[in-house]
């Protein structure tokens, strides 16, 4: 159970750190933004508080130091500077390292690094380590309890002012522990003639909702405890989710407080008027006590309403593995549903067919819901890149701003995870080789600051992510010469601009004269392309010399279940991702004969190259008289795949192939059909590539 809470804290802390990083980067741009300063402070405060609660004392102590500095910033005692942002970003990284190291056997986070960061921050704040830091850390490590409402009666001694104590300071300290309502009881005041002006006649009823525990309340009164009457009672604990909305009746509160007796309450209840009014009119209660009880009633009601509103609006944190399991189970269900539909169709039983249709509808809804749960906005990934851009700019002496658009665009979490590395590589390339040094930019008549623009937008069942820089652009001649030198193209080859840019994805291709530590334009781009294609995506480049380069990555929304087109060759079934399919046309034996073995079909006056899959996969038997060409479109190029028959659309639950088949070209996975047989999912971009490579 404890591990579960620790895990929940870690998950929350990782999210807070991501948010913290974004806030810090924004703060660097707008150092006077009070909201941002508040966000940084709150993130640190939450990590510290929750960290100490779940036993991450080292994290709590370290974070406390940063929080202290940001409290000074918050109070206008310290300015936000580049050094402060740098140190705080380093502190953020250090907290992350401490989180990573927590619960792992072996080496922990680098303590020396923590010390360096703290010294830097303290130096910045103008104070050196003090002994006071230790008790502060100890306080941070104190474990708060659940949210509890306390009723506190504080009756100071009559001569409290003479001892130099100001009770209002104590009230203020108490208010800092949580939500507090204060009622001064003035009923015991004498009239002015009899009043000693230097004596204290007032006492207080306080209603405090806090998670700090009773000891923290007692600590407030520690120096006056011998000089006052202090009564602390717990009146409500708010840990119950289903606690009733109504708090205690007024009479019950007064009875509990000892302000009325049970007999007096019964007597009043026998009447039909409002309890408070009746109790007052009977003279068994003074107005101050009634006022105090009413305040308690209202206070608890408000705390509960606020808590319930927060709970209603909040989300549930679920481990990613449970969602993966849910999606897998839904996938199994989709397969079984396909089997049910197929069986029902075969039996021609009207009732069974109706049930199958109902199950089909429900399964589709369930599938969409399950997949939607895993959808996450791509914004958090964008934020990470902001840090990457910042760090690389500093490293390379460039001035680069990053702008983003469409951060709210949602993608399946597995897609987002797998997309991270290719995008990092593309951004690194843009910064390293795309954007020029400030002097070169100014010389070229551009602003000294370069820009990398990252955008995400939905496009059908895909998302298109573009990385656009305003750098030097690709050098077509350099690419061409390099390709000839590497023997990738012939010296006489005539290539379109698209084909030319596509060469940078060839393995080992690079136009960089010197390969830097960051990247080389082209170095590893083949890896990027493979990673994108493994996600069933495509990548497209456009570039204008001197103006910049735009790389568009098109990725399917999810990797778990896809809409596909089922085709048949002999007894075998294959699936083609529907998103890539443009249309299907017939191919007769005469058409084949007319193309003289060139595998070209005329479709509405356009010549479309095609790949006969029966031949490609060496499937035995003769093709039918009339075959079908499924025309696909990848990166703007239309290519056909010849199959025996097109069966129709199909919900395809993707199953990865075993290790032995991982390197089979042209196949990206498999799926189970309604009759229990297996159909292979075609990897269209890879098929095209392998066919191209085989051509002389």
């Amino acid at each position: 159970m404890i591990d579960q809470h620790r895990q929940a804290f870690k998950e929350e802390a990782y999210e807070l750190l991501a948010e913290l990083e974004t806030s810090l980067l924004e703060l660097e741009e707008r150092p006077d933004d009070i909201d941002l300063i508040g966000r940084v402070f709150r993130a640190m405060h939450t990590i510290k508080g929750s960290g100490s609660m779940f036993g991450f004392d080292d994290i709590a102590a370290f974070t406390h130091e940063v929080e202290t500095i940001f409290d000074m910033v918050r109070n206008g005692k310290l300015q936000v500077t580049a050094r402060l942002v740098n140190l705080t970003l380093a502190a953020r990284d250090q907290i992350r390292a401490m989180l990573d190291a927590a619960d792992e056997v072996g080496e922990g986070a680098d303590l020396e690094e923590s010390g360096k960061i703290i010294s830097g921050l303290r130096e910045l704040a103008g104070f050196l380590p003090t002994a006071a830091a230790a008790p502060a850390v100890a306080t941070a490590a104190k474990k708060p309890e659940n949210l509890v409402t306390y009723r506190i009666r504080f009756v100071p001694s009559r001569d409290i002012f003479i001892t130099g104590t100001n009770p209002l300071t104590l009230l203020q300290e108490l208010k800092e522990l949580g939500t507090c309502s204060v009622v001064a009881q003035t009923g015991a005041f004498p009239c002015l003639e009899e009043m000693d002006p230097e004596a204290c006649y007032v006492f207080w009823d306080l209603i405090l909702t806090t998670n700090q525990g009773e000891n923290a309340i007692r600590d407030v009164f520690i120096f006056v405890e011998d000089d006052c009457e202090l009564k602390i009672e717990q009146v409500a604990e708010h840990s119950q989710f289903d606690e009733p909305q109504d708090y205690k009746k007024l009479g019950m509160i007064l009875l509990e407080r000892g302000d009325i007796t049970a007999e007096e309450m019964d007597e009043v209840l026998a009447q039909q008027r409002k309890f408070g009014e009746l109790a007052l009119s009977k003279g068994i209660l003074d107005e101050g006590k009634l006022q105090s009880a009413l305040v308690e009633q209202r206070h608890v009601k408000e705390v509960r309403q606020e808590k319930q509103a927060t709970e209603a609006a909040s989300s549930i944190r679920v481990p990613a593995e449970r969602l993966d399991l849910l999606v897998n189970l839904v996938g199994e269900m989709v397969t079984v549903q396909a089997r049910l539909s197929q069986t029902a169709a075969q039996r021609a039983d009207a009732e069974l067919l109706a049930i199958a249709e109902e199950v089909e509808r429900l399964t589709a809804e369930l599938r969409d819901s399950a997949l939607n749960i895993r959808m996450l906005p791509i914004g958090s990934t964008f934020s990470k890149f902001k840090r990457l851009v910042r760090d690389l700019s500093v490293e390379l002496g460039k001035q680069i701003d990053m702008t983003t658009e469409g951060a709210e665009t949602e993608l399946d979490k597995t897609v987002i995870e797998k997309l991270n590395d290719p995008l990092v590589h593309l951004i690194r390339n843009s910064i390293d080789h795309g954007i020029e040094l400030p002097e070169a930019r100014v010389e070229a008549g551009k602003p000294a600051n370069g820009t990398v623009h990252l955008a995400a937008v939905h496009s059908g069942d895909s998302v298109v992510i573009t990385i656009e820089d305003d750098g030097a652009g690709l050098d077509k001649e350099a690419i061409r010469s390099k390709a000839i030198e590497k023997g990738i193209i012939a010296a006489t080859a005539e290539l379109s601009e698209k084909e030319l840019f596509g060469l940078i994805f060839a393995p080992g291709f690079s136009t960089a004269k010197k390969i830097s530590s960051v990247s080389g334009r082209g170095v590893g781009m083949d890896v990027v392309k493979r990673a994108i294609e493994a996600l069933r995506g495509s990548i497209d480049i456009s570039s204008v010399r001197g103006k910049g380069t735009t790389i568009a990555v098109k990725i399917p929304l999810t990797l778990a279940i896809i809409e596909s087109l089922r085709v048949q060759i002999g007894a075998d079934s294959f699936m083609l991702p529907l998103a890539l399919v443009d249309e299907c046309v017939e191919l007769t034996r005469e058409d084949v004969a007319r193309s003289h073995g060139r595998n070209l079909a005329r479709v509405r006056a356009q010549m479309i190259p095609y790949i006969p899959l029966r031949e490609h996969f060496r499937i035995q038997g003769d093709p039918p008289e009339i075959q079908q060409i499924v025309i696909t479109q990848v990166n703007g190029v239309r290519v056909g795949f010849v199959v025996d028959q097109v069966i129709g659309e199909h919900q395809t639950v993707i199953k990865s192939l075993g290790r032995a088949y991982r390197d089979v070209d042209g196949i990206s996975g498999a799926t189970i059909l309604g009759d229990g047989s297996v159909a292979l999912i075609l990897d269209v971009p890879q098929l095209l590539q392998s066919v191209e490579e085989k051509q002389p």
Partner: protein
């Protein structure tokens, strides 16, 4: 806080009405003086307006004295009320100390409680 200044005068427009202007800050050291000034002002007329618009601070002793003065006025069949001219220092202090309330105390038979009308 500025030094306390107490000025009491007869309102020229209303016979029997005294106006006690409290300027500066009220601390425990001034409490005796304020008590005397309130008693004297209540003695002089049937109506007392305590003007706190230029008051720059008040501690618990001051709040207690104002409350007690109101109770004394009620007992003597007189009327005491406060005008603060929107003085937030006074309002914040009274609210923070928990003096603000919905209805007056048991002695407030004329519904003239100086703290009523606020939240506690």
């Amino acid at each position: 806080m500025d030094d306390l200044k107490l000025e009491c005068r007869q309102d020229p427009k209303a016979a029997g009405k005294q106006v006690l202007k409290v300027s500066g800050g009220v601390t425990i050291g001034d409490a005796g003086g304020l008590r005397q000034a309130l008693l004297a002002a209540l003695e002089k007329g049937s109506e007392l307006q305590v003007d706190l618009s230029e008051m720059t601070g008040i501690d618990l002793t001051g709040l207690q004295l104002l409350c007690a003065a109101h109770q004394s006025a009620l007992l003597g069949g007189k009327w005491l009320y406060i005008t603060d001219g929107g003085n937030m220092t006074f309002r914040d202090m009274a609210a923070g100390a928990g003096f603000r309330r919905h209805t007056g105390c048991a002695r407030d038979t004329s519904y003239s409680c100086i703290w009523a009308g606020g939240e506690s």
